[in-house]
């Protein structure tokens, strides 16, 4: 069962400015060009936050970022409907087969 929720969520952010923090602490900002099912991210118009620390990366313009190396994706709050996102995650969690695996109570909203 692949989690398509965040894939769908990122698709709504295409064209928006985001900041991607990688697991090596490098932060890249740019425009979200595309995303795929593995949450690999393609950014255009990239700039490296804290360029003085990483002058080796100044030539970066468009990049493909492997999903597995992303730590955080920072999004402008105005680009996100957090209510909708919360609802969607709640629905996703109640429809997954979590009953057998979770020990804490699961709130199911109908």
């Amino acid at each position: 069962i692949t989690l398509q929720l965040f894939f769908s969520f990122f698709k709504t952010l295409v064209g928006k400015e985001i900041a991607v923090e990688l697991k090596n602490d490098v932060v890249l900002t740019g425009t979200l060009h595309s995303v795929d099912q593995y949450l690999n991210i393609k950014l255009t118009n990239v700039s490296v936050v804290n360029e003085n620390r990483y002058p080796q990366l100044t030539a970066l313009k468009n990049c493909f970022i492997r999903g597995s190396v992303v730590r955080y994706v920072q999004i402008n709050p105005s680009d996100v409907d957090t209510e909708l996102l919360q609802d969607a995650t709640r629905k996703e969690n109640s429809s997954e087969i979590t009953a057998a695996t979770t020990s804490s109570s699961v709130e199911v909203k109908s």
């Binding site: 698709k11 490098v26 795929d36 990483y54 002058p55 990366l57 313009k61």
Partner: protein, 102 residues
């Protein structure tokens, strides 16, 4: 909507590996796992004590697990002038990607 590397084939790219290395080369091929084949590749080694060093690698295959970021190298960033500027750049190494810390 597919985020593929097809647009980058036969182009010069710079690859940031998970251990913090920067490899530049022409992308000959790739697969879904981001395994890559690079031609005419070289590593750009930066340090605080010495100018940028280029290590020739030639035809290189990189396992997808080790790929962090792939960026297109544009003409303006590899022309004579910029190349010379780049050689004098001193920098701390890029930290490695830390995964699955226990």
């Amino acid at each position: 909507m597919a985020s593929t590397l097809s647009e980058l084939t036969n182009k010069s790219i710079t690859l940031l590996t998970c251990d913090g290395r920067l490899i530049t080369g022409i992308l000959l091929g790739y697969d879904q796992l981001q395994n890559l084949i690079l031609k005419n590749s070289y590593e750009k080694v930066y340090s605080m004590d010495a100018p940028m060093e280029k290590v020739e690698l030639g035809l290189f295959v990189v396992r997808g697990d080790n790929v962090a970021v792939i960026s297109e190298v544009t003409a303006t960033s590899t022309n004579g002038d910029r190349e010379e500027e780049d050689e004098d750049v001193r920098a701390e190494p890029i930290p490695p990607i830390v995964q699955n810390v226990t």
